[in-house]
């Protein structure tokens, strides 16, 4: 049974799919938090909107970078399968 599980590539691909889903979940949560904080601060201080927007884009790019690392790993797993 264990041998069957270890040898089945389909399970590896399923793992990649679950990983991609988790990556999307994490990135969505992170970027959502950044977006909500940025909106709040723009509403409080509309004149600082430009600066907040730039900082928001940079912060979401950093999160996106980590998320894309995960996506690349998942893609590599699924190509192996």
């Amino acid at each position: 049974m264990l041998n069957f599980l270890l040898l089945d590539m389909g399970i590896a691909i399923m793992g990649a799919a679950i990983g991609a889903g988790l990556v999307a979940l994490g990135a969505g949560f992170g970027i959502g938090k950044i977006g909500s904080a940025a909106m709040e601060s723009i509403a409080r201080q509309p004149e600082a909107g430009g600066k907040i927007q730039t900082a928001m884009i940079i912060a979401s790019a950093l999160i996106e970078g980590v998320a894309l690392f995960g996506v690349v790993v998942c893609l590599l797993i699924s190509f192996k399968g």
Binding site: T54, I57, I58, E64, G65, V66, L68, V71, V72
Partner: protein
């Protein structure tokens, strides 16, 4: 008011016509797909074919749709060899062997597996890069001519489109992130911004190459940023890496934990630049192509308009992503340069 209405009416008519055309094409493709149903449509294969580099530029099936590109090979025994990649295809577009070489999964490999070759070919990506470099030279030399011609006057022509963008990079990206020494880095930042932007946009054209979605190209760009950061790093920058101020001594002395972490950070920064650009552009292409694949997977005319509508929406999103990724790459490069040239300040306070 009336002309406005008339114009709106015309636009409406054109839209109807265009969507009709799209419908027709979708239908045509469905019929074609149904005819050779024994040959199953493989979306993964189609998508890889579209996002990967190739030795020919494939625009459409049939006559004159495939442009052969030059192949340049170097091997120790034969020296430099140059020939057209069209030699690898027979009249029915099937792969054939030529001169002791064959194309295997898009790569040229020698039939005799003992031989080593280095491939310098002008591939699809290289050809596309040549086009974009030519385009950029043409545009920016004419912008430059504008500045020579109207000194102290308002910009004219294409100059007035690019001036706000150049000033934006200077005032919003370079100045606040690098500080007073920004001028040295501005040419690089502008070049990299426009290079990535132009290539991202050109990659969205139908039949175009996926230049910025190729990891070798994004790696080269990231290596440029890495080298410039390291070579312009001052004493303060290296001190921050090897003897980080404001950190307890036991993190540094017996076991150099902090220096190792900081040193890894030096390499992960350009690495994330590379992956970010590559994965964003490639993911965009994969999504658009997958939406088109839906038509062939379901083999139904009903899916056509829906998937075309989604693909058009994704295309517009990708236009934004093309600009955003160029901007992110530039601003992060500027921030890394900023940390490298930053002067000594407020450390006494921190420690």
């Amino acid at each position: 008011m009336k002309t406005k209405l008339k114009r709106a009416h015309n636009i409406f008519k054109i839209t109807i016509l265009l969507s009709g055309l799209v419908f027709l094409f979708a239908g045509f493709n469905t019929v074609k797909g149904a005819e050779d149903s024994e040959e199953l449509f493989n979306p993964g294969e189609m998508i890889t074919h579209h996002i990967a580099d190739a030795h020919v530029w494939h625009l459409w099936d049939g006559a004159f749709g495939t442009i052969p590109l030059p192949v340049i090979l170097y091997s120790d025994d034969r020296g430099i060899e140059m020939f057209s990649s069209g030699n690898f295809y027979d009249s029915h577009h099937h792969l054939v062997e030529y001169n002791g070489y064959q194309i295997e999964h898009g790569h040229i490999v020698p039939l005799d597996s003992g031989r080593q070759i280095i491939d310098f070919s002008i591939t699809k990506n290289v050809a596309s890069m040549f086009i974009s470099v030519f385009l950029m030279f043409w545009i920016f030399l004419s912008v430059k001519r504008g500045y020579v011609r109207n000194v102290g006057k308002a910009p004219t022509g294409i100059q007035s489109f690019f001036e706000p963008i150049i000033i934006f990079i200077r005032d919003e990206v370079a100045k606040p992130n690098i500080g007073p020494k920004y001028e040295k880095f501005l040419p690089y930042l502008l070049s990299i911004f426009f290079f990535i932007w132009f290539n991202n946009m050109m990659g969205l054209l139908p039949g175009a190459a996926n230049v910025t979605g190729n990891i070798a190209i994004t790696a080269t760009l990231a290596v440029f940023t890495f080298l410039i950061t390291q070579f312009s790093g001052n004493k303060n920058y290296w001190k921050h890496i090897f003897n980080t101020p404001g950190v307890p001594w036991w993190l540094k002395v017996p076991l150099p934990i902090m220096p190792v972490v900081e040193l890894i950070g030096v390499f992960t920064k350009p690495f994330s630049l590379m992956i970010r650009l590559f994965a964003n552009i490639t993911a965009g292409h994969i999504i658009i192509l997958s939406l088109f694949s839906l038509i062939f997977i379901f083999q139904s005319i009903m899916v056509g308009p829906l998937s075309v509508a989604f693909a058009i929406f994704m295309n517009f999103l990708e236009l934004f992503v093309a600009l955003l990724q160029a901007f992110i790459f530039t601003i992060l490069s500027a921030m890394y340069f900023g940390t490298a040239v930053e002067d000594h300040h407020e450390e006494a306070e921190v420690s």
